[in-house]
């Protein structure tokens, strides 16, 4: 990744974050914290990793992405808009009656959404099914799924992890958005899913820990995951919940709260400033 490519990703991620704030503000509800923590991951996936074409969202040979932590769909919608699956204007309809952008993702409503999700623990199973379908049909598409670290408290995650390890789904890449916070507080206090790396290793995964806001680190991690044979991969991405909006960073209260008008203006001003800073570099 050269500096120009890196900057392009940073710019896109900034726009994704603006889309998140735009959407959640107009919805007056939604989940900004985990959308912002995963914004760089979404950006990397859709602009560097996934072999997808917004002109052909149903291409049977495309790579798949399942947002297992479905509540952070403002981030997914934000990146899909940037990628050209639909207009940015759609973000303002998030969670409104008649909108293509539901409060949790629905594959029947939104172009580019590969699986309906939102009930935690279920997306990773569907991703395993997709990876298995590729194996059965000897196709080379890969399947990516993003989980929250709090989501790891769901038992189904480990049913799916056991399945993926046992079936040697090396075309499956699990990403954990390890921002350390869930609704009721720090994950270490609420449900205790840690140590995350040791658990996945025990289930037969290739395990990597990376800085989820460092595009070069993400590039190396995804390249490594793609080269792994005979086992599924997990990338545990250390992130900051609310990343990019100063007053939301590391604040558990911003898990599922929309900004008011004043907070919206402040957040957008910060992001615009960050964008201008990047453009001026």
């Amino acid at each position: 990744m050269n500096s120009c490519e890196k900057k392009s990703l940073q710019l896109t991620a900034c726009k994704v974050r603006m889309n998140v704030i735009e959407g959640v503000y107009h919805a007056k509800s939604g989940h900004p914290g985990g959308s912002l923590s995963a914004a760089d991951i979404y950006t990397y996936l859709y602009f560097r990793e996934l072999r997808v074409n917004p002109e052909k969202p149903q291409d049977p040979d495309r790579d798949r992405f399942v947002l297992s932590k479905g509540h952070t769909c403002p981030g997914l919608y934000g990146v899909l808009a940037e990628k050209g699956y639909f207009s940015r204007e759609e973000m303002k309809g998030l969670r409104h009656i008649g909108s293509m952008l539901q409060g949790h993702p629905n594959m029947q409503d939104t172009p580019g959404v590969d699986m309906s999700s939102g009930s935690l623990g279920q997306g990773i199973s569907a991703a395993c099914g997709m990876a298995l379908a590729a194996k059965l049909d000897q196709k080379d598409f890969r399947v990516y799924t993003l989980l929250g670290d709090g989501e790891l408290e769901e038992g189904q995650v480990w049913e799916a992890a056991m399945f993926a390890g046992h079936k040697k789904l090396d075309n499956l890449c699990v990403i954990v958005d390890n921002n350390g916070l869930q609704i009721d507080g720090p994950i270490s206090e609420v449900g205790g899913p840690e140590p995350i790396d040791e658990k996945f290793r025990a289930f037969g995964f290739d395990v990597q820990m990376v800085d989820g806001h460092d595009f070069e680190a993400l590039e190396a991690a995804f390249a490594h995951a793609k080269a792994v044979e005979g086992k599924p991969s997990v990338i545990i991405a250390k992130t900051v919940k609310g990343k990019g909006v100063s007053f939301m960073e590391n604040q558990v209260g911003w898990h599922g709260t929309a900004p008011n008008a004043e907070q919206y203006e402040t957040a957008m001003a910060e992001l615009k400033q960050a964008l201008a800073g990047l453009e001026a570099e």
Binding site: Q108, S125, A126, L136, E159
Partner: protein, 314 residues
């Protein structure tokens, strides 16, 4: 007339899905460590590469099936009804029902005729649970030939289907040579104008026996086989209500939420008619030989005949 066979519908299912596998290469079969019991083992033996044992993890199995369906497969995900419809209800609702995926959910060992295993495994709630999911088709075939036709219809139908299988062997009564199955269409098996008995699944053959015994006493009960619990054939039920004036429903399921309530809803909204709901009367089952249990719960030809006479004031 095709030969009479005495087979459990789970056996007929296992045979059918295997026989149809060549014609429908998209079909794959998933099980959760119960292949010998659900009879997906027949498929496993013939098509090992298209059989996926998910281990004892039914919730994950339903999700795997959903993922496979998004990629064009037609997955049959099988376990006991208690686990497919019960344990994995929310996965069925959110990962299959909501996106309307082409997954065929198979619930074997439904009802109290599980027998000796007792209440934990005797699922009398699956029809109720599945009925509440928008767009779910619920098939509860009554004999060998009907099951075979239902499996084919389920494959050809694009969308989620719940297929209920029984453990107990049942004598076939349909003619396999000219039997035709249409999702959502009830079948009148005996004509009669005194009363109508609407039955589903294992209870259909018992109801025929009851109706034939009643006919010898001069009581002419119409018998309707509802193999598709959802969408319900309202037309055949309303016609029977108008023509016979009394309805009895018979199901191996809790009277709450199953066929009886589905019929009650149609009648009370469109043609109020006296109704008796036979089934498991909102109690848990218990261990015992299946046939003895069915008698204990009144789900046998003798009691269906007795309830019919009582409903007619005879």
């Amino acid at each position: 007339m095709a030969e009479m066979v005495k087979l459990a519908t789970r056996e007929s299912f296992g045979q059918a899905v295997t026989e149809l596998a060549e014609q429908y290469p998209q079909v794959v079969v998933l099980d959760a460590d119960l292949a010998a019991a659900t009879k997906t083992g027949i498929f496993k033996k013939a098509y090992p590469d298209r059989f996926i044992d998910c281990g004892i993890a039914e919730c994950n199995m339903v999700g795997i099936a959903a993922g496979l369906a998004t990629c064009g497969k037609i997955p049959f995900a099988a376990s006991f009804a208690m686990f497919t419809a019960g344990r994995a209800f929310e996965q069925v609702r959110n990962s299959v029902g909501y996106p309307h995926l082409n997954v065929k959910l198979v619930g074997s060992h439904a009802g109290i005729s599980v027998g000796e295993d007792g209440a934990t495994h005797q699922c009398c709630e699956d029809l109720a649970l599945m009925r509440t999911i928008p767009g779910m088709v619920i098939l509860n075939p009554a004999d060998h030939y009907e099951m075979k036709a239902a499996v084919k219809a389920a494959i050809e139908y694009e969308g989620p289907v719940y297929l209920r299988l029984g453990r107990l062997a049942v004598e076939s009564f349909n003619n396999g040579d000219d039997y035709s199955f249409e999702i959502g269409k009830g079948i009148t098996l005996r004509q009669g104008d005194d009363i109508t008995i609407v039955a589903t699944g294992l209870m259909v053959s018992e109801t025929i026996k009851a109706a034939d015994a009643l006919a010898e006493e001069g009581i002419h009960a119409r018998v309707i086989n509802i193999h598709t619990v959802k969408p319900l054939d309202e037309e055949i039920i309303l016609k029977a209500a108008k023509e016979t004036g009394k309805i009895i429903t018979v199901e191996e399921h809790n009277v709450i939420g199953g066929l009886g309530e589905a019929v009650a809803a149609v009648l009370s909204e469109k043609c109020p008619t006296p109704l008796v709901r036979m089934g498991v009367q909102d109690v848990f089952g218990y261990s015992g030989p299946a046939k003895d249990l069915l008698k204990e719960f009144g789900l046998c030809a003798e009691n269906i005949a007795a309830v019919t006479k009582k409903a007619l004031g005879k």
